[in-house]
Symmetry: C2
Subunit: 109 residues, 2 copies
DNA sequence: GATTCATGCAACTTATTGGTTGCATAATGA
DNA sequence: TCATTATGCAACCAATAAGTTGCATGAATC
């Protein structure tokens, strides 16, 4: 599973809402989590399968109901990758700024 | 622009590659950034427009060429949101663990 | 001025996504 | 056992996305 798939999985309002809910209450059943999202249960299930394939969520069948569990590790991975990008960008920006100032100084000579 | 759109924009291998490149070298022209991605220039441009709409990137036309600039603020926002989710999840998990242990202890009585 | 370079825009095709309805089935509870 | 509950699976549809080719245009260069 590639990292892009993780972001792709988060890139839908319904799925993002689901993840948000799960972060606040890790004990959802599939049915409960599917309510109030503006889609049918079957529609919601498709989203959950996508989240499962992206390893963001685990679906655990048991008895009559299926529990939905959040996988924090995936989120952490996704989060740290972006922040790494941001950090690299900051460093570059700083270098650019330093260069600009140096350039201005040399013009002042 | 919703947060889900930011993740959606990052949820494609070509676009993620672009952002990665930009984080390492903020001074790309559209043409240079479009090479080596396995798509045509016009295809790459479509991706760039998507990144621009998600405010991840800015396209700055000038003379004959167009510069592509990374917007670090968007990345930081995206990164911190996920890490917030992860944090909330950790707290919940800890609570659950504590509850389980308490439960075990009461069984021990 | 003619040529080359970097880009923008439009039309079109195909694949993927998001959503639905309908039906089947296994577990609970009365 | 019978009704109810929670779910899974398949078929189908419409919209969006990803990609292409072709052409137009403004800027640099010779």
């Amino acid at each position: 599973m590639k990292l892009a798939d993780t972001y792709k999985a988060l890139g839908d309002p319904v799925r993002l809402k689901m993840v948000e809910r799960l972060s606040k209450n890790p004990a959802y059943t599939l049915g409960a989590l599917s309510k109030g999202l503006g889609v049918t249960r079957q529609g919601a299930r498709k989203h959950l399968v996508i989240l499962e394939n992206a390893r963001i969520v685990r679906l655990v069948p048991g008895g009559r109901e299926t529990k939905v569990l959040l996988n924090g590790a995936s989120l952490n991975k996704a989060s740290s990758f972006i922040s790494e990008l941001g950090r690299a960008w900051d460093v570059r920006l700083e270098a650019l700024r330093a260069f600009s100032e140096q350039h201005v100084e040399s013009q002042d000579l």
